[in-house]
Symmetry: C2
Subunit: 210 residues, 2 copies
DNA sequence: TAGATTGTTAATCGATTAACAATC
DNA sequence: TAGATTGTTAATCGATTAACAATC
């Protein structure tokens, strides 16, 4: 059966809806209309309704949306009702930052191991997660289900490790190296181009001066 | 004089062009046509030509683009020919990761100071950059030109610090806290929503299973 | 029932791609 | 000059917004 795929513009906005709904939930708001939410989020009410209706009718005419219900539904759409085994390759500051960030665990992303080449790091642990020798990576990945590998290692190593990981069965790559990974199309890659965002910032600072 | 502003879709792509041209330059490629570049980057040649022509005619008919020239021109457009004084608020792993990343300095983003509340960090230094008590932040910002403040601190502190910084004259915010900062419109904000990218990854992993 | 607000279709807007004349 | 490839206009495509009938 054919389902038309959702545009990536919509997907990109889902985490933001999720975040706002989570805040509303914390503040014990029970219901919200697309109009109210649109004012908070500074988008059009039309866009909110269009976006949500890609996935089904979560609202009710004359009432709006139930915050908790919508929050949970978007969570399911995003796959946050499942658990993911995550490993981090590269246990430098960025790798450690990821391992230390408690929110990820809360959303079902469980950091299982870190790997590094640096003998001074190997054997240490971060919030109870061991840092292992990268030589043990292949063995580990082949014997343990790894849903997501976060790559926080230098640019020149990232491409090789990524294709190794994929050949050992990893399907999800969260890449922090400033390169575009070319991987089989059944592998999902999200790249965080930190320096790109910094360049956009300097662009807009420059624009401002003129 | 009125200049039509460049769409953000175009701006978002500039750092990527810059990256590819930098790689070509390293490989001593002298010239490239939009067609060749489009194949490398997996975009249309049309888009490349359209994008570049927002800023001027950098190419030459029958020849293509001179790699070094185009690289430098895009660098200027992005404001990378200038230097920026950067401070990092929050000297945890992520703050340290930023201070440690040598590529930023290479592109003109000079990390001047880190600030933190944690007494165990205060007084330490990262690659020669001091970690100061956050109580000294106001004084520092008022007496030193700060172009960009990177916020690598918990969500609940970020909004307050951001508006303080802005009231003390900072115009550029590189935000890593998972919130949308509301700041005066002459302040430029780039937010890196790490957890949003992770959620998009889990979304697409989920899609794959079906 | 009347009022509110959704779900959804239709209209608009903007971004991408195609095409080709200009020109190196 | 002939061939190549840009710069740029026109056509297409997709995403956003507006409008409103359906319905709670």
């Amino acid at each position: 059966m054919y389902e038309k795929s959702i545009s990536s513009a919509v997907i990109k906005r889902l985490p933001r809806y999720y975040r706002y709904l989570g805040d509303l939930l914390e503040n014990e708001v029970v219901r919200i209309s697309s109009k109210e939410l649109s004012e908070k989020m500074q988008v059009t009410a039309s866009q909110i309704r269009q976006d949500l209706n890609n996935f089904g009718g979560f609202g009710q005419q004359g009432y709006g949306y139930n915050v908790e219900y919508l929050y949970n539904e978007i969570g399911k759409i995003l796959g946050l009702d499942k658990q993911y085994n995550v490993i981090v390759i590269g246990a430098g500051n960025l790798g450690q930052a990821i391992a230390n960030y408690p929110d990820f665990e809360k959303r079902g992303f469980i950091i299982r191991k870190l790997f590094d080449v640096n003998p001074r790091l190997i054997g240490m642990s971060i919030r109870g997660v061991d840092i292992c020798d990268i030589d043990e990576l292949e063995e580990y990945v082949k014997h343990n289900k790894v849903h997501i590998a976060a790559l926080t290692l230098p640019k020149n190593k990232a491409a090789q490790i990524a294709s190794d990981l994929v050949s050992w069965g990893v399907k999800g790559i969260w890449n922090f190296a400033p390169i575009d990974l070319r991987l089989p199309k059944d592998v999902r890659v999200e790249t965080v181009h930190l320096s790109d965002t910094l360049m956009r910032l300097s662009y807009s600072l420059k624009e401002m001066e003129e």
